[in-house]
């Protein structure tokens, strides 16, 4: 059977809400939660979620033999990374000093303790947990119908620092600006949880379900990730 959207299952967290939210906005789509590389290869679109810690995520990806399928999907078809699924697209995470997939240049850092206070001097908690404003740094089909500054639900202690600023699709403040969405060719990835962000999140998932990336040139992808 044709798989429209594959949600990659590598044992890291609750995937039911991701698949349910997609089914809610794309009722006609055949959505499959899978850890089968063949299903990921055959799927029209791939959602790559994830929770937990970076070292565990990378270990589980390899333990399930999913690395190649994820890298191939990120090079070739509409691909949505969510939370840890965004972070491990980069080269390296400070969390457990972990080598990641290296599909996008840049690294992942922890919110630095010394910076975590607001203008009035109040301590800011880590994890960054709750609803924060998301500012759109570029126009993109996945932002369609979503208000600039709309709030999305976050829960994370680490954030990505892309080496190529042109991939930054969205940012938020805590307390300094940090990248919370990136876009590169057929890849879109977000730090927040669209599946838990009510109407704005559902709009983004709905946009993903119908997104047709135009030119597939992965503008900021690393040289190793480009096609020969």
């Amino acid at each position: 059977m044709k798989v429209d959207i594959a949600v990659v299952d590598y044992g890291m967290g609750n995937l039911r809400s991701v698949s349910k939210a997609i089914e809610h906005v794309a009722p006609a789509a055949h959505v499959v939660v899978t850890s089968d590389p063949d299903v990921i290869d055959r799927a029209g679109r791939v959602v790559f979620p994830g929770q937990g810690a970076a070292p565990d995520c990378m270990r589980e990806i390899d333990a399930r033999g999913l690395r190649q399928a994820i890298v191939d999907a990120a090079r070739s078809k509409p691909f949505l990374g969510i939370c840890m699924g965004m972070q491990v697209l980069f080269e390296h995470s400070e969390e457990g000093d972990t080598a990641c997939l290296g599909i996008l240049p840049g690294d992942v850092q922890r919110f630095p303790r010394e910076a975590m206070h607001d203008a009035a001097g109040n301590k800011l908690k880590v994890p960054h947990m709750g609803w924060n404003d998301v500012h759109q740094a570029m126009s993109h089909p996945l932002w369609a119908g979503i208000e600039e500054g709309a709030r999305f639900y976050f829960v994370h202690s680490y954030f990505v620092q892309p080496a190529a600023p042109e991939v930054i699709a969205g940012f938020s403040h805590y307390p300094f600006p940090f990248t919370c969405a990136v876009a590169s060719g057929n890849i879109f990835a977000v730090q927040f949880h669209p599946e838990k962000s009510q109407n704005a999140g559902l709009a983004l998932l709905g946009n993903f379900a119908t997104w047709h990336p135009g030119a597939m040139a992965p503008t900021a992808a690393m040289s190793g990730a480009t096609c020969a």
Binding site: M12, G13, N14, R16, S17, K20, A21, H24, Q51, G52, A53, R113, M116, D118, N122, K123, L124, K125, V126, P127, H128, M129, G130, W131, N132, D133, R151, Y153, F154, V155, H156, S157, H173, Y174, P175, H193, E195, K196, S197, Q198, G201, L202
Partner: protein, 251 residues
């Protein structure tokens, strides 16, 4: 900026919401799915379900409820009550819970918190602390406030953070049900002692209490039951009041 959260709490037993919820034109005051949908539409930032089912026979009912709610309500869902082993955490997460709250079992077996956080990530582990003032300090109580533990609440909060809790749900047993406001000194003491978010609970009777919990108690989120359930105040009304008092909220 990050918004302070308002979290309605629903007590569930035998698959039904108890203590009643008084929404206009609510067809079934005990239906968890309908109530969750209404709170979602009203702008709740998260929902917490507390399973107060006494017998273990009926525990699976909460799983069906969470499955049904998670299929149509797309905000974070926390479930607490009766979590004893890592397998309980897994079952709740698989059913669609985003966070699991551990209370008595954390005291009986702190390793449970560590094992669950290691396995599923700190982001989904909430440790609920029921505290009561005893002399000059606050002591942790379990079994719905009936059993003293001898643990100092501030030290316990720090220990649970070190064990991997991602968030603390702090209830003042002195204030719970009194409608006289949060125990602000307790809330602030715990919030200042840890780096993880604190949900204040117990004692909300007015909207000013919510403001005080955030401003004086330095809570990151406020949890309330009766003032919302019985329709005294709406979620939106509460948020507008907080905003008027300079608190960042999601409207």
């Amino acid at each position: 900026m990050l918004a302070k959260r308002i979290i309605p709490c629903l007590d569930v037993t035998h698959g039904r919401v108890v203590k009643g919820v008084n929404f206009v034109e609510l067809k079934d005051a005990g239906d968890p799915v309908e109530i969750a949908r209404r709170y979602n539409e009203a702008g709740a930032d998260e929902l917490t379900f507390l399973d107060i089912t006494a017998s273990s026979d009926d525990r699976d009912l909460i799983l069906h409820i969470i499955e049904a709610v998670a299929a149509e309500v797309f905000i974070p869902l926390t479930v607490g009550g009766g979590v004893r082993v890592v397998g309980d955490v897994q079952r709740l997460l698989n059913a669609g819970a985003d966070k699991v709250s551990i209370n008595t079992s954390a005291v009986l077996n702190p390793q449970l918190v560590k094992d669950a956080a290691d396995r599923y990530g700190s982001q989904c582990i909430v440790v609920a602390i029921d505290a009561k003032r005893v002399g000059a300090h606050w002591e942790v109580f379990t079994h719905g406030g009936r059993k003293a533990t001898g643990l100092d609440a501030i030290e316990w909060a720090k220990k649970m953070e070190a064990f991997g809790a991602g968030e603390l749900l702090l209830t003042s047993m002195d204030r719970d049900g009194t409608k006289s406001g949060f125990d602000l000194a307790l809330t602030r003491a715990i919030s200042d002692a840890v780096d993880i978010p604190i949900i204040a609970s117990g004692g909300v009777g007015t909207l000013q209490h919510l403001v005080d919990g955030v401003k004086e108690g330095r809570a990151d989120a406020v949890l309330a039951a009766s003032i919302f359930h019985f329709g005294e105040y709406g979620i939106d009304e509460a948020k507008r009041y907080m905003k008027q008092h300079g608190i960042e909220v999601r409207l």
